[in-house]
């Protein structure tokens, strides 16, 4: 059974005057431990799709299943990291990361231990008592990732989490995320419009079309080299990149 199953999702926005079709017949499955990336042009419905999977928005039709159970509301089984920062500014880094466990009434001791583990994992051990406002953008996003992971979600949903970061910090964060995902054996659905990022992180890449968003193709990423910044110029890497770009370009013509 797939960990996450998305079947025939349609989303039509209605603003009272006209209808905008944002998603058209989107279906895919993700196995446990897989890292799947969605790429697509801006406005093609990526955020909308992730919000539907996360239960923050409802589909016009179609279903989302986690471990075979249909889900319609948000819940901790689908942890989310958002496109823009969403930390709670009134809580310290540690308290932010403990938040989900507190909501589930997990005992204080255990909460602290788990929170510290994930804060360490994203390399912020020294900052557990810092307030979010005193952190840089990259650090905030790392806290957001730790906060979501500490709540042990079944599936991790990430919406362009590194979109606002500079190129260098971005690469550091990508390597960090790949590491963390591997050590925690997380199942991840990750959104980006950066093709390099998609190939570096994904075991499969879902390529979406312009609005209305449809799935153009699902491309497996098999690289014989290790995935780090030096892979960016490797032939295998570039071949996959070319394939994705061809798909997207055909779309714009």
């Amino acid at each position: 059974m797939p960990k996450l199953k998305v079947s025939n999702i349609y989303k039509i926005f209605n603003d009272g005057k006209s209808n905008v079709t944002a998603l058209e017949d989107v279906s895919f499955e993700i196995e446990k431990g897989e890292f799947v990336v969605i790429v697509g042009p801006s406005g093609c419905g990526k955020t909308t799709l992730l919000n539907i999977v996360g239960g923050l928005d409802t589909a016009s039709s179609g279903t989302v299943e986690v471990d075979g159970r249909q889900v319609t509301k948000p819940g901790g089984d689908r942890g989310m990291v958002f496109q823009s920062y969403s930390l709670f500014p009134w809580l310290s880094v540690l308290k932010n990361v403990e938040f989900g466990m507190k909501m589930r009434h997990i005992p204080k001791e255990q909460r602290l231990e788990t929170a510290r583990k994930y804060i360490g994992l994203v390399g912020l051990g020294e900052f557990e008592n810092a307030m979010p406002d005193t952190l840089s953008g990259g650090m905030k996003q790392r806290v957001a990732i730790a906060r979501t992971l500490a709540n042990s979600p079944e599936v991790l949903l990430m919406d362009e989490p590194f979109g606002a970061l500079d190129a260098q910090t971005r690469i550091v964060m990508q390597e960090l995320l790949a590491d963390v995902a591997r050590t925690t054996e997380s199942t991840v659905l990750f959104i980006t419009h950066d093709i390099d990022e998609a190939i570096l992180l994904g075991s499969r890449i879902i390529v979406m079309s312009n609005r209305p968003g449809k799935i153009l193709d699902i491309i497996p990423v098999e690289l014989s080299i290790s995935r780090n910044r030096s892979a960016l110029t490797n032939e295998e890497f570039l071949a996959i990149k070319r394939r994705i770009m061809d798909l997207l370009w055909k779309e714009t013509l």
Binding site: G75, M80, F88, W90, F99, M103, A144
Partner: protein
Amino acid sequence: MNIEKNKKDYRLLSFIVFAILIAAWCIASYSGMVSKIFLPSPSDVLDAIVSGLKDGSLWENCWVSTKRVMIGWFWSAAVALPLGMLMALSKKFTAIIRPFIEFARYLPVVALVPLTLLYLGIDEAQKYTVIWLGTFFQLILMVCDTVSSVERNQVNAARTLDANKWQVYLYVILPASLPGLLDDFRLTIGWAWTYLVVAEMVAASSGLGYIILKSQRFLATDVIFMGLILIGLIGLLTDFLLRLLSGVLVPWYKRLGD
């Protein structure tokens, strides 16, 4: 002097403004430029304060007025807080209550005073009611706006972290809107003093508003000034205490320019 960084300089500047005001007052009154009936001298006002302190009437009047403001405002906040939050979170409730609130908000409170006298007489409840009417209809809309402006992202994050509806209210919406709510409170307490004086001027036998009105009949301008200065000082003190409270409750909150 670097006001941006230095707290001492900030205080100094505030102090200088007061010093200039007082100096101007001294010059205008002691030189005889302005008649005593219109502008008492600082020493006249000090005399009034000292005699008020001696016979205990000063504390008595300050306390009576402060108590009225606190109780009237407290009831206003106690009702406006839950209803304002409900308005921000439920369209249905907004549809029920908003038209009435907007209607009532534009009624001048002074025009309602005769009715309060008719219904409630001249006892304390009438004072509380005037203050309540003056602040409630504004405060409920302020609370609604403050709560509505909580970032959607934060609420969504909490919901995907297993928070149920009540936990979202308690652990996200409330702390996120607390700085704004404290500001709303500070503003409306100021207005509560305005309506207190309105209430005390029409029907009262104690309080700062009452002694101001009474003094006008006897042309006791020094006592009027004393009343005004006391109201100002109590206002300053209240503001100071609420800022202190902000610092304790929401130390994480930074304003533009802090």
